[in-house]
């Protein structure tokens, strides 16, 4: 499931030319917008595959190299998984974070310096950098790993329609796909599995949680698609849409996969139905881009700020979302 740049879905995406979908025409791409990237991500999740699209799409937005892995994004929007401290001619990285592919040659690490997030490119085999694939999800350790000044790709742009916002929406779509895939599996299985002389799905105790899951899926889909559409069509009005979509998708994935497992009984814990893959993915992917609770706090802070401005009769620029590290300054 750690299908990074070299994972088994890579060949399929390459055959489709997926790397051209979002790329601007001027750069030789199809300029289909984030909406296309969201659909690719969703389908990867629905198929219960690792995400071989995420890192390259994010790297392309941030000016990073292709074929890299992402690390440390779970420390966003709050927290400090990897801290960068200055040294002569560069920086030292310290911290232990989640990485999405231990086989990639380069890691794109979300680090903090002076509280501000920056993106740093680190060679996986650089001194002080080790990876651990025996745990799930895998981990990268930085023990005073030295990087040069040129390896700092720049601030991690957290503007609403910026690279991080786009990455959040792709991840939200991936989580939506994970949840939907599990739900489809459960709906199908409970439609032919019989107990008490009837199909499982004909028992309200089984069908109602699946129906509630459908509601959660539709609501999440609404936020994800709306967010992608906003980035593509009305970038000045994006606001906290990517953060909301990611937070909701993370919680939906956790909940819907759990409800789907429950409705299918013990077989869900075996390889028979394939639900175990969604279950494992949901745990890792729902926090890969930050704790949902922290994401919701970001949204809440922005909403309170808007209400406060409205109460004072002030106009609030829609795009001026509160950055997480600014909440305490409100």
């Amino acid at each position: 499931m750690t299908d990074g740049a070299l994972g088994p879905t890579r060949a399929v995406l390459d055959e489709l030319g997926a790397s051209d979908f979002e790329r601007p025409v001027a750069a030789g791409g199809l300029d289909l917008g984030l909406t296309a990237g969201v659909l690719v991500s969703e389908e990867l999740g629905r198929a219960a595959r690792g995400n071989s699209y995420r890192a390259d799409a994010t790297a392309a937005d941030l000016g990073g190299p292709a074929g890299a892995a992402l690390a440390g994004f779970e420390a966003l929007p709050a927290g400090s998984g990897v801290v960068a401290t200055p040294r002569a001619g560069g920086w030292r990285l310290t911290g232990t974070v989640t990485v999405d592919d231990v086989s990639a040659g380069t890691l794109l690490v979300a680090a903090r310096t002076d509280g501000e997030p920056v993106l740093v490119a680190v060679e996986r085999k650089a001194p002080g950098c080790t990876t651990e694939s025996g745990c799930w999800p895998p981990v990268a350790r930085f023990d005073a790993a030295s990087v040069g000044a040129a390896d700092v790709l720049g601030p991690l742009d957290d503007s609403p329609a910026g690279p991080l916002g786009r990455a959040r929406l792709r991840q939200a779509a991936y989580l939506l796909g994970i949840a939907d895939g599990a739900h489809r599996a459960a709906v199908e299985y409970t439609g032919f599995r019989r107990q008490f002389g009837t199909r499982l799905r004909d028992l309200p105790a089984v069908s109602f949680p699946l129906a509630r899951a459908l509601v959660a899926l539709r609501a999440t889909r609404a936020l994800v698609y709306r967010g992608a559409w906003s980035v593509d069509s009305e970038p000045d009005a994006v606001g906290t849409a990517p953060v909301m979509a990611l937070a909701m998708a993370a919680e939906t994935a956790r909940d819907v996969v759990r409800w789907s497992m429950q409705s299918c009984g013990v077989r869900a814990m075996t390889a028979e139905l394939g639900l175990h893959r969604y279950f494992r993915l949901a745990a890792a992917e729902s926090v890969r881009f930050g704790d949902p609770a922290a994401l919701w706090r970001t949204v809440g802070a922005d909403r309170v700020r808007s209400a406060r401005h409205a109460a004072a009769g002030l106009e609030v620029p829609v795009a001026a979302a509160v950055r997480p590290w600014e909440i305490s300054r409100l």
Binding site: L223, W229, T240, M244, M248, E272, G300, R303, R308
Partner: protein, 419 residues
């Protein structure tokens, strides 16, 4: 799919908003807003809105509208609530009965009734629910017996809202008793001032109270039969779906969350309210999704597409959300705000008492879940998955079938305008 509004729609919204911000409308809206269990007569406000031409902008001009797109009507509905207009009359009269009349009525019926509804000079309510026929609307007992060129309706309808103020009732009754649970039902437009109609009050926990309507051989002209005789059930199902856009519940949720934020900011202007931010963020995100769900249904209806699953999802999501916000927000105003009877405190107290009805009216949450669950068979047929064990489909039910099996009329708005 488009998630934003067009420039024309934005311009129209701005015009409506300006009209609703007049001193006259604001004063009338304040007068029409209930509190502490007292329900004022909101008709003067609606007569004013009717004069402004805002009540039924999407109806044809010949029936009192402006011939605008149905989506513009939804924009007006949003702006009405945001301007503090109590919306029960609008939902019952325009969005439900008027819309149903527009959909299923004869030209003569539309000509006779719609213009007065659009002017805010006449009001309507649905009369579906009976003491023993709520979610199970197929159990209704009211009978319409032929009488010359018309009918005489006898039965009891309950739990409607605003009924003591309305002139017209959309009533479901059996024209062929014994034909079957879902057969032999017809729909009638009943003059609420006709002899034999008795309206009494059933006090409830909310500011808007319920009504009981006793119909004792009430004369109804044959021309007031709505749709074909004995064919009321399919019409009812369409009407129920139209009620379930979720927009009205969404607007309540939005208004109540705003009131809670007002109370928070007013109560402690200097605080960042850290302890509330996660929940506020979650409400705001869920509201944003809810708006999209409602507009998916609305744009479908504007194109004459009624998706029973989408309406059930929208109704369930919006009503559960509004109820959840109300239950949370009632604890937000502090003692000082409650003692001073601040606007937010009064609104949120009223919201808390109204909220239990939201997941009952227009189809209970349980009925909405059943509609979705019954549609799983259709979904399964569309998108087969590969299994290690072969799927066995013992049923080929569909969304339409499930609605027939679950008529979904609760003790609420769809049956009696309980909102």
């Amino acid at each position: 799919m488009r998630f934003g509004f067009t420039e024309d729609q934005k311009r129209f919204r701005a015009e409506v908003r300006t009209a609703l911000r007049s001193v006259e409308v604001r004063a009338a809206a304040a007068e029409a807003t209930g509190a502490d269990g007292v329900e004022p007569d909101a008709r003067p406000l609606y007569r004013l809105l009717g004069k402004l031409g805002l009540l039924a902008v999407h109806w044809p001009v010949e029936f009192g509208g402006q011939g605008r797109p149905p989506t513009d009507a939804a924009i007006v509905a949003e702006e009405l609530v945001r301007a503090g207009v109590p919306d029960t009359f609008h939902v019952n009269t325009i969005q439900i009965v008027g819309q149903f009349l527009l959909m299923a009525g004869s030209h003569e019926q539309k000509r006779r009734y719609l213009p007065a509804l659009a002017r805010g000079e006449s009001f309507a309510s649905v009369l579906y629910t009976e003491p023993d026929a709520a979610s199970d609307l197929g159990a209704l007992r009211a009978v319409a017996e032929p009488d010359g060129d018309g009918y005489r309706i006898t039965g009891t309808k309950v739990f409607s809202l605003k009924t003591r103020f309305v002139d017209l009732g959309l009533c479901a009754a059996r024209t062929t008793p014994g034909a079957g649970k879902y057969q032999g039902i017809s729909l009638f437009l009943v003059d609420m001032g006709a002899p034999g109609v008795t309206v009494s009050l059933i006090p409830g926990v909310g500011d808007e109270h319920f009504h009981r309507v006793d119909l004792d051989a009430v004369p109804v002209p044959g021309g007031n039969l709505l749709g074909p005789r004995d064919e009321g059930w399919p019409l009812l199902n369409e009407a129920l779906a139209i009620e379930r856009t979720g927009l009205d519940y969404h607007l309540k949720a939005e208004r109540w969350l705003q009131a809670a934020l007002d109370a928070l900011i007013d109560g402690d202007p200097g605080s960042a309210h850290d302890d509330r931010l996660e929940q506020i963020g979650r409400w705001h995100g869920t509201l944003t999704a809810d708006h999209v769900l409602a507009w998916e249904v609305l744009t479908g209806l504007a194109s004459d597409r009624i998706d029973q699953v989408a309406t059930a999802v929208a109704k369930y999501h919006s009503s559960e959300l509004a109820q959840g916000i109300a239950a949370w927000a009632v604890g937000v105003p502090g003692p000082e705000q409650r003692a001073n009877r601040s606007g937010a405190a009064v609104t949120l107290d009223s919201a808390y008492r109204e909220a239990p009805g939201l997941t009952l009216s227009a189809g209970t949450s349980e009925v909405m879940l059943q509609i979705m669950a019954a549609a799983f068979d259709s979904i399964g047929q569309e998108e087969q998955l590969t299994w290690t064990s072969p799927p066995i489909h013992s049923s080929t039910g569909c969304a339409g079938h499930c609605v027939r099996a679950w008529p979904a009329s609760p003790p609420g708005r769809s049956c009696t305008a309980h909102r």
